[in-house]
Amino acid sequence: MKNIIVKANAGALTNFEVLDLLNSRGASKDTTRVIASETVSRSEYKVYDYLMETAASTQTRDSVTKFSDKCKGFKLAKAEILNIINLRPSSDVELTPILERPDEREIDIEGILALVQELLPPLPTLEAHKENEQEETEDGEQPNMETSV
């Protein structure tokens, strides 16, 4: 069967938009879903599971639109804005691999990070990670549970 591609690229989608699409079809984190669901297929669920672990799972349409509007002042390429929304970098070292030749273009890294902090919701698993880090640290910091005695 020959299929004709009318438009190979009819628009880029952020992870959030794809997650939104799957949510509107009825995807959920319920464990009985894979057997019961008629509207969301198994392979779509794999995408859903992946996206729920990324920044997209805590984002809202409002925050994503506001963020890309405000990004216009930072001289970023569309692909870079998309990448920032998808990854939600919270530090210099997380933002730099996304940008192409940041030094030559005089990009305001601090400004972008501040905007991310202000407009995009934090990552979903960040809290769980931080708790693990505290327990393993050698500085003698006590995990929260022990101090509440």
Partner: protein, 203 residues
């Protein structure tokens, strides 16, 4: 990493589905045809929506109705230079293999792993090799314990379907993404959580 693509195709709705509302039946047929398949534009992940349906003719000798449908699909096609978070899948002497759950053919070849490094047989898994990065006095192991590994896309290739294959060859991958973890902020996320304060001092 996702984008929309518009396609036009001839879709056959089997007689058993003809009692369903037309859009539902066509969507079902489209899903069967395209979902989880690799086209020249990438991996088809979901049907976004149907734009137009034409036809509905029943061809002689066939009980099914044939429609000409214009529709949009969501395609996984990362762009070169994009940074993506993935999980560790396996590693061997050629390099690492990472997975995104729905897409498992992300390869980081040995030259794109930060140097100096070494490859050693994995003590926990006899068939695998393990990669270790040496930075200063510390050694960082790349294996299953890494929660998330960030890589940057270097290249996407669509190898042609092989006509002959050896018995024990890996399952054929129609779409292969090659990535690098050799840069600031790339590689296992845990490497950089500890490093963030150090980079501030250097500035």
């Amino acid at each position: 990493m996702f984008c929309l693509s518009e396609l036009e195709d001839t879709v056959r709705v089997p007689p058993s589905d003809l009692n369903l509302p037309l859009e539902v039946a066509i969507k079902k047929a489209l899903q069967k045809l395209f979902l989880d398949k690799v086209l020249s534009i990438g991996l088809c992940v979901a049907i976004y929506g149907i734009k137009s349906i034409e036809g509905g003719f029943v061809l002689p000798g066939d009980g099914a109705a044939t429609y000409k449908v214009v529709f949009r699909i969501v395609v996984f096609r990362p762009f070169v230079g994009e940074v993506i978070a993935a999980k560790f899948k396996e590693s061997d002497s050629n390099g690492l293999r990472l997975t995104l759950g729905f897409f498992e053919d992300v390869y980081v070849p040995a030259p794109l792993i930060p140097t100096p490094n070494r490859c050693e047989p994995d003590p926990y898994n006899r068939n695998q090799m393990r990669w270790v990065w040496k930075y200063g006095d510390d050694e960082f192991i790349i294996d299953d314990s890494c929660q998330q590994i960030k890589f940057r896309v270097e290249n996407i290739s669509y190898p042609p379907v092989p006509t002959e294959r050896a018995e024990d060859a890996k399952p054929f991958a129609p779409m292969v993404v090659t990535g690098t973890i050799d840069d600031d902020g790339l590689g296992p996320v845990s490497w950089w959580e500890a490093c963030a304060p150090i980079s501030d001092d250097e500035d």
